[in-house]
Amino acid sequence: MSFTRKSKPASSSTQAAPFSTGLSSLDDLLGGGIPPSCSVVYTAPDLHSEYGVLLQKYFVAQGLATGEKIYVVGSTAEWVNECMWTPPNATTVEEADEADKLKIAWRYESMKQFETTVASSSSSRTFDLTVRIPPAVVSDALAKHQLVLVDAEAPARVLSRLKDVLATNTVPVRICIPSLGGPQWGDLGPQDILRFLHRLRALLRQYPQACASTSLVATVSGDSYGNGPGWHQRVGWVADGSMTLSAFSANPALAAAFPSAHALVRLHNLPSPHSLVPASDRFSVIRGASGENNISLKCTRKRVVFETMHLGVEGGVGERRTEATVTKKKAEKRVARFEGDAYDF
């Protein structure tokens, strides 16, 4: 990672604060979050993973946590109930003091640990994938009309409904479209999808207090969808920001080469609503000083993180590099539990 220090993105007085996506590393890639009046599209071509939908759940969870108005198009309340939430007792995690256990050469002792991603910032909550959103929060948000579910019908009708909504609201609004191109939308062709995204962006420019986050379903996310290759570029031209998350599960060679990553992230274009240079080029830490770091997505049991992509350490996949974090006291407790067990052979 580059060591040049980058100044934090200062929100200019004329521009409103960007919308956080719920993931601090994704916010960093976008240059602080999704800027108001911008539309970001995620394509995830792998048929058997749903990273695009996962990112939309983070987007909705963040909106519910900050109390912003959210419009979810094409999904039901059950889908919203599957979103992640902050753990009930959010205590700070105690880091195992590995510096004592691992002997390293004296000249490297003052260097900090190799960082592949940004630490979570204060603007986005730390959502935990093992914690589901409390149903009370969702029903409360639905009752207060903070969360509104819009049915996916013909794209033109969805757009006119969104237009009515935006014309009457002056508060910041998040528009989330988790599975554009899915069966609930009917038979959408490439032209319909491009027309919808283009018109959605025009709507956002007209009502700049809102932003939109869209995920294309896997079947319409491949680069050769439509007439020939170039689909990702076309989607990029009709949206402000677009990225492709290609999972490694389809390619075992890649999965073996990058053991700690689960998907390759390709940024096609990034939002720059008021200038020629996207904010991400100047402020993104993960992308590096020259904007050329390879970026991958890792989905662990508790969280999703975007980080720089590196080859695994020599020594193979299975070798542990650090001490196990289980302390001696916990190990004793575990043994004690089994001693009085009825099935003690």
């Binding site: 490439p190 032209q191 491009l194 027309r195 283009h198 018109r199 962006r201 025009a202 420019r205 007209q206 700049p208 020939g228 290759p229 170039g230 990702h232 570029q233 076309r234 990029g236 031209w237 009709v238 096609h268 274009n269 609503p273 008021h274 200038s275 020629l276 240079v277 080029d281 590096g288 000083a289 020259s290 904007g291 050329e292």
Partner: protein, 246 residues
């Protein structure tokens, strides 16, 4: 027109770009230079922008960074912004030969004046084709617009997106072929073949269109001029030079 390329007036300049190297800066730069460099005794300058994707706010913001006040220019009549899709929604049931884009042409004709030095910028023609306008209609519209601009001695600048797979030659679609036949010069904005870089945003190559006398210094792709984007515009430099950047 468009420093440092020194292109003459009254031509059709086709600007092609890719998603990795968008040509927004060329359009903004040509607009700003056209409106800024008005000499006191010369013809009055006017600029018309036909926009499909970009909103007026972005044009205003970028122009403001170079001290050109577009609102003032609109009030004085030297800047006209026409939002194409506002006037002509995408057709659903039109036959291929229907002149759906005719209102836009009429709007341009009503504003064009032979006594003024005009620059007409057409932004994002490819998107019109993608969202459903018939190819035949778009090519006829371009031809009619080109003829109108030639009659009024105006300069026409058309921007076209090119889809390029990373390891092959650019994909040429029919719309590009039609536009290329009409163009006097073809400016290609290319990304670096070695991938993204922080110091260089892309490269610019300039080619001659069919049937045009050779007046301007051309830039083949091998000696393309490189550029780096800044907040208000772009800085051009030869490959491997520019002490401040590399």
């Amino acid at each position: 027109m468009i420093s440092p390329f020194d292109l003459p007036q009254g031509i059709l300049l086709l600007v092609t770009d890719q998603l990795a190297s968008p040509a927004d800066f060329v359009l903004h730069r040509s607009l700003i230079e056209h409106l800024k460099n008005a000499k006191p005794n010369a013809k009055k300058r006017k600029a018309i922008v036909l926009s499909v994707s970009e909103h007026l706010a972005r044009w205003k913001a970028t122009a403001a960074k170079s001290n050109v006040n577009l609102e003032q220019k609109t009030a004085s009549g030297s800047f006209v912004f026409i939002d194409v899709l506002e006037r002509v929604p995408p057709p659903d049931n039109a036959l291929p030969g229907d002149p759906v884009l005719r209102p836009i042409l009429d709007a341009v004709v009503s504003v064009l004046d032979e006594s003024e030095d005009t620059l007409v910028i057409v932004d994002d023609l490819a998107v019109l084709e993608w969202i459903g306008f018939a190819l035949l209609d778009i090519t006829r519209f371009c031809r009619a617009l080109h003829a109108t601009c030639r009659k009024a001695r105006a300069t026409l600048l058309i921007r076209q997106h090119v889809m390029t797979p990373p390891t092959a030659e650019p994909l040429l679609d029919d719309l590009f072929r039609h536009l290329f036949q009409m163009s006097s010069y073809h400016m290609e904005i290319l990304p670096l073949s070695s991938g993204r870089s922080g110091a260089v945003s892309g490269q610019v190559a300039l080619h001659l269109g069919p049937g045009m006398p050779h007046e301007v210094k051309l830039l083949p792709r091998s000696s393309a001029l490189q550029y780096k984007l800044t907040d208000g515009g772009a800085v051009f430099f030869e490959r491997g030079t520019e002490a401040g950047i590399l």
